[in-house]
């Protein structure tokens, strides 16, 4: 295919030359792109002592797993991981359910005021978190509610992105399917639950991964709301240790924390990569 079309193409480069050029360009970029992560991993597996002399190797120096073991056993890192898992898990779950519900209503049920409400939801997509921060902080402070899981989760469930993705997706499901279900005797609710929800699994998977990554990596709100060390999430916890490594005394340990903090997401990323890409294209509206 490609050869046939390329032959007719009045392009400056021969197909093979072009492909080699493209491939080498991509490879160079790929090398640059992967370098920081390789570096993080190699430092994480190097001993702290060796790193005081040399931090430039791309392979572990004096390889050891003591840094990782130290992270997992010592300090509050396991607790921070647990916090992150709990907060992220529930936030994702609630976001999925609420977004699917709202998405169905916006996509399929005609109701008054939809033309006003939907743009308001979309606009919410873009509101910077700083704009709600101070009253949010003050309100939770007044209610003595900081340093709880609820405080970490609640403000983030309101995810307009989810409503947007689910609305886009459900609007694209053929109307006939829903009509078939109604003729088959299903109520609106049943149609939503037994037909539309299962059909939306691809979009919900994508949205789930998206939400999970964003929530896991979130920094600002946990930084403000969780002030007790036991309630830190992995991101704020990691940042709180940041000041200690200026002299590179514990660089290996620090990188090990980076690895531990990223690993759950990297694994998730490799398992669900396809769905994530799909989610990006639904979210961009350029399906």
């Amino acid at each position: 295919m490609s050869q046939v079309t390329a032959k007719q193409t009045p392009f400056l480069l021969k197909p093979r030359v072009k492909q080699t050029l493209f491939l080498s360009l991509l490879s160079v970029f790929a090398a640059i792109w992967i370098l920081p992560l390789i570096w993080m991993f190699s430092l994480a597996f190097s001993s702290n002592e060796a790193l005081q002399l040399n931090t430039n190797s791309l392979t572990p120096i004096d390889p050891t797993v003591s840094n990782l073991v130290g992270v997992i056993q010592g300090g509050l890192t396991p607790r921070w991981m647990l916090n992150s898992v709990i907060v992220t898990g529930f936030t994702t779950l609630f976001t999925l359910v609420l977004s699917a519900m709202a998405g169905y209503a916006f996509a399929r049920i005609p109701f008054r005021g939809k033309k006003i409400i939907y743009p308001l939801v979309l606009a919410g997509l873009m509101v910077p978190r700083e704009a709600m921060f101070i009253p949010l902080f003050l309100m939770f402070a007044e209610a003595d509610y900081h340093n709880t899981y609820e405080a970490l989760m609640l403000p983030r469930i309101a995810a307009p992105l989810g409503v947007f993705i689910m609305t886009q997706f459900m609007a694209a499901i053929p109307m006939e399917i829903e009509e078939a279900s109604r003729v088959d005797g299903a109520s609106r609710w049943r149609t939503f639950w037994s037909v539309m929800m299962p059909m939306s699994v691809p979009a919900m998977t994508a949205l789930g991964i998206f939400t999970y990554i964003l929530t896991w990596n979130d920094f600002l709100w946990p930084l403000v709301s969780a002030t007790q060390r036991e309630m830190f999430t992995i991101t704020t916890g990691l940042a709180s240790l940041q000041g200690n490594f200026a002299q590179a005394t514990e660089l290996g340990s620090l990188m090990a924390r980076g690895v531990v903090a990223s690993l759950p997401l990297l694994i998730l990323f490799f398992i669900f990569q396809k769905q994530l890409v799909r989610g990006i294209s639904i979210g961009s509206g350029g399906k």
Partner: protein, 357 residues
């Protein structure tokens, strides 16, 4: 099983100026196969969807049996529908697709399985029950959609262009299967199509719609032999009927150099000095006298031959199609004369388009 009755049913879309279906009056007998046919936008699908309860009825009423279902939800109408794109649930297997309605109705699991299997046997789908729609061919999907309707044992089947996504050969095959299945099950069926061949071959009766208005309801033969107006005359039959406007003269209408005899009682009903004369392609006769025509093109189809020609009538070119013997016919470029017998022509009022004879 039940009869169906549209009683002045009207559907007006919000923001529209003209009703999509205008005071439809139609009665469908118990067990009858009725086809709704017409060009796109004629309101045939809307009528069907009104009967299904998917489209609101703005005025008039709809009855299934003796029951007024005008405001009844689709699920409570005891109907089943086959959609144009089949609308199979992609996340369910064939068996689950067919059993979904029964499941919702609370039919016990065993009875459900039994009825699904029974329908699958009828449609030759037994081997595919555990597959998902994605893994089926177009024809198989179509049968699953049929199966989903049959399993329900509904009072009425509704079918919305169920064959339009099949290739030509499969369409002809499935056409006869559906018709014979319907005869066997004896369920009242309303079938929508834009294809007049489908309408003529499948329906006990055919209802022709145009612009939301019912034009004629009749058996296929009557529709062909006695179309009620110019629209039906031109729509039903392939190739289409030849229609020409001819002046009324003493004893009939002027037909080239001869007079086509038409009864005075018929012509007296005409509103103007001309009438529209309709002649089917097979009712023309090539002769020495009559309407002069030039042949442009000849099609030989083996069993039939068709001549495509032109005739000057009252200073304007009129295209004509004539069916002839495939082996013995005039050639392209030939000048011929055409005649027809009085019993074979259809006379319509030029103004209203209504049938006069």
């Amino acid at each position: 099983m039940a009869s169906v009755k549209f009683d002045k049913s009207t559907r007006m879309y919000p923001g529209g100026t003209k009703p999509a279906v205008d005071q439809l009056e139609l009665e469908i007998a118990d067990g009858e196969f009725l086809v709704l046919v017409g060009p796109s936008g004629c309101g045939k699908s809307t009528s069907l969807r009104m009967l299904a309860g998917l489209e609101e009825v703005n005025d008039g009423a709809i009855y299934i049996g003796d029951r007024d279902v005008t405001d009844v939800a689709p699920k409570d109408r005891d109907i089943a529908m086959v959609f144009q794109n089949y609308a199979l649930y992609p996340h369910m297997t064939v068996a689950e697709n067919m059993g979904f309605a029964l499941k919702i109705a609370g039919v016990p699991k065993e009875e459900r399985a039994e009825r699904v299997l029974e329908a699958a046997r009828l449609l030759d789908l037994e081997d595919y029950l555990s597959r998902k729609p994605k893994a089926l061919s177009g024809g198989q999907r179509q049968r699953v959609a049929m199966g989903r309707a049959i399993v329900r044992k509904p009072q009425v089947f509704l079918m919305d262009e169920p064959l339009s996504n099949l290739d030509a050969k499969l369409r002809v095959q499935t056409r006869t299967q559906i018709a014979s299945l319907q005869k066997r099950l004896g369920v009242t069926t309303v079938y929508v199509t834009h294809d007049q061949v489908e309408a003529m071959t499948m329906g006990d009766r055919v209802a022709v719609l145009k612009d939301g208005l019912l034009q004629q309801v009749a058996s296929p033969r009557e529709l062909y032999d006695r179309p009620a107006n110019v629209f039906v005359a031109g729509f039903i039959g392939s190739p289409a009927m030849n229609l020409m406007q001819l002046p009324i003269v003493e004893g009939g209408v002027q037909f080239g150099d001869v007079v086509l005899p038409v009864g005075k009682d018929v012509l007296d009903k005409a509103s103007g000095p001309k009438v529209t004369v309709g002649i089917r392609p097979e009712k023309f006769e090539v002769s020495e006298h009559g309407l002069p025509a030039t042949i442009d093109l000849v099609e030989e189809l083996g069993s039939d031959g068709f001549l495509y020609g032109r005739s000057q009538i009252e200073g304007a070119d009129v295209n004509l199609i004539i069916r002839t013997d495939p082996h013995d016919h005039p050639m392209a470029g030939d000048q011929i004369h055409l005649r027809s017998t009085a019993e074979e022509v259809h006379i319509f009022d030029t103004e209203s388009g209504e049938r006069l004879n």
